[in-house]
């Protein structure tokens, strides 16, 4: 067991309230554990294989992003947003850039808008690929993980060609984007999409409709619609519970106007059916279980591919430039602004409180994984030890975003 400074591993104030029965075992899952997706620590009170209580302990990756935000200008803060959800840096960049733009009352040119959609949706595909792959890994299936990472690598190659970075892009910036696409990039991207679409079916075969996979996920960790909303769960976790809510369609007008002329479906189960093309829902699956949470992401990938294809077309036709980044030390107007965007993990919200200086007075990052993770104790109560990785994986958390 790990020894953490200042914390007695056997002393948990929450558990000591209830009588510890003789057969019970207190197990420390994490912070170093293969399937906690980072440095999450979950203390499990178990009776044999039965989990009586799961208490998440977070903060191992806390990097004081909000405090740093009070010391740097908005453009300087962009690299820090990359490091929140490091699997979807572009989406984080976009959220922050839009928030600052909302404060400044800035609108980017058409070309930049389409390019943003293109990049962000590509990143959503990449992030969902990691989610699907690692979820397979959580359930003991290694091969889908490699397939997913192979496809993700291709997206990262595209990103590298765009901005030179493979993980922390800082590409989307306040007022536009850092650079235009290199020549021939769009063709490469289209070639990738053509090649990628059949791979989704492979992944469905290996995971979504695989009998063992369904047995492991269907009916496990059922999150009811009410509970999901109560816990502020967002993104695929919320939609997995059957709530038809996607900020790209239902969000702040300042955000939804980015997608105004795009055609896509929200990945949610309506009358037992998901947007086509997708395999049918297995009969064992209950709305809100791990299988649905996983499947929403797979369906979203298809929709994102659609969006990327549209964005490519629109970008090709668009006139003008990709926007001018604001000055590094541009003075911000006084005021408060809060904006949430639909990131792969859920709704990522940024808030800026400005007193009229170049440096914000207060920066707040409302993280989707943070809220999604907070529902873990509810989901894990009464499950088996083997279900804990299945549930944690289906929530698809990134600890960089949880701890910020």
């Amino acid at each position: 067991m790990n020894v953490i400074p200042g914390v007695d591993p056997e002393d948990f104030s929450v558990t000591s309230e209830t009588e510890v029965r003789t057969e019970e075992l207190l197990i420390n899952m994490g912070p170093q554990h293969p399937s906690t997706h980072g440095v999450l620590r979950v203390v499990l009170r178990t009776d044999g294989e039965l989990v009586l209580e799961a208490i998440p302990h977070i903060g191992y990756l806390h990097r004081c992003a909000e405090k740093i935000g009070e010391k740097v200008t908005p453009r300087q803060f962009i690299p820090y947003t990359d490091r929140m959800d490091y699997l979807a840096g572009m989406n984080m960049n976009l959220g922050w850039a839009l928030t600052v733009e909302k404060l400044l009352g800035l609108e980017v040119p058409e070309k930049a808008r389409h390019l943003r959609v293109l990049i962000v949706e590509l990143n959503r595909i990449a992030s969902h690929l990691v989610a699907a792959g690692t979820y397979g890994l959580d359930l003991g299936s290694f091969t889908p993980f490699v397939y997913c990472f192979r496809e993700r690598e291709k997206i990262l190659n595209l990103f590298e060609a765009v901005c030179g970075a493979r993980l922390t892009y800082s590409y989307i910036t306040v007022g536009g984007l850092m650079a235009d696409l290199p020549s021939g990039w769009l063709d490469q991207c289209e070639a990738f999409l053509d090649q990628f679409e059949p791979v989704i079916d492979d992944l469905h075969d290996l995971l979504s409709v695989n009998h063992i996979f369904v047995k492991r996920t269907a009916g496990v960790g059922v999150l009811s619609r009410e509970l999901a909303v109560d816990y502020g769960c967002t993104g695929p976790v919320l939609r997995g519970s059957g709530v038809d809510w996607d900020l790209r369609r239902d969000g702040d007008p300042f955000y939804t106007r980015m997608y105004r002329d795009y055609d896509f479906e929200v990945a949610v189960c309506r009358d037992g059916k998901y947007p086509q093309p997708s395999p049918p829902v297995p009969t064992e699956a209950v709305l809100g279980d791990c299988w649905h949470r996983f499947f929403v992401r797979m369906v979203e990938v298809v929709q994102s591919v659609r969006l990327v294809r549209q964005a490519i077309e629109k970008y090709r036709l668009a006139e003008g430039d990709i926007g001018q980044p604001i000055k590094l030390n541009q003075k911000l107007p006084p005021g408060e602004v809060y904006l949430e965007t639909e990131c792969p993990k859920g709704q990522m919200g940024f808030m800026i409180v400005s007193l009229g200086e170049a440096i914000p007075w207060r920066v707040r990052a409302r993280s989707s994984s943070f809220c999604n993770l907070s529902v873990l104790p509810e989901l894990c109560r009464g499950c088996l030890v083997a279900d804990v990785p299945a549930i944690v994986g289906s929530l698809d958390i990134v600890l960089g975003e949880v701890d910020r």
């Binding site: 914390v7 809060y338 919200g349 808030m351 409180v353 907070s374």
Partner: protein, 176 residues
Amino acid sequence: MSIEEIFQHLQEKFGEAVRPGDFTSIDPWIEVGPEAIADVCRFLRDNPALRFEMLHCITAVDYLEVDEKKAAKASFVPHLELIYHLSSLTLRHRVTLKVMLPRWRDDHPGQLPRVPTVSNVWKTALWHEREVYDLSGVEFVGHPDLRRILCPEDWVGHPLRKDYQMPIEYHGIRAR
């Protein structure tokens, strides 16, 4: 539903406890008295015309100018603000609530200001309030498990306060 109508509803029910904030800013807000916040939130959630099912975020902003020269010219008196962002998934509207708090309860430095918890209205507040308690130092009365969440349990101070001093060392690790 516009912010004015929401305010109307609240005014009828709670009277003096809610005050109009700024309806013209980018994100219009309503000010709520600290003692009424839990009731207001419950009303906002349960009223069929409002139905704010989701609490997005609780933010604490510390208004304090540490630099004494600038403090004289500051546009505010030192205080803490709690900002609640709510939305309704069914009625598709949003609202922002603000609670003004003193920086310290009864102006005794070290005594955390108190505010009723909303964790019994929205479960998501369980963690958000812990985070605010941890980083900004607000005590939520009635919270079932108010512990630090991001900082270690034996951390001293509340880092997002403007007058926060980083400790010199923490368990033998140099911090400053």
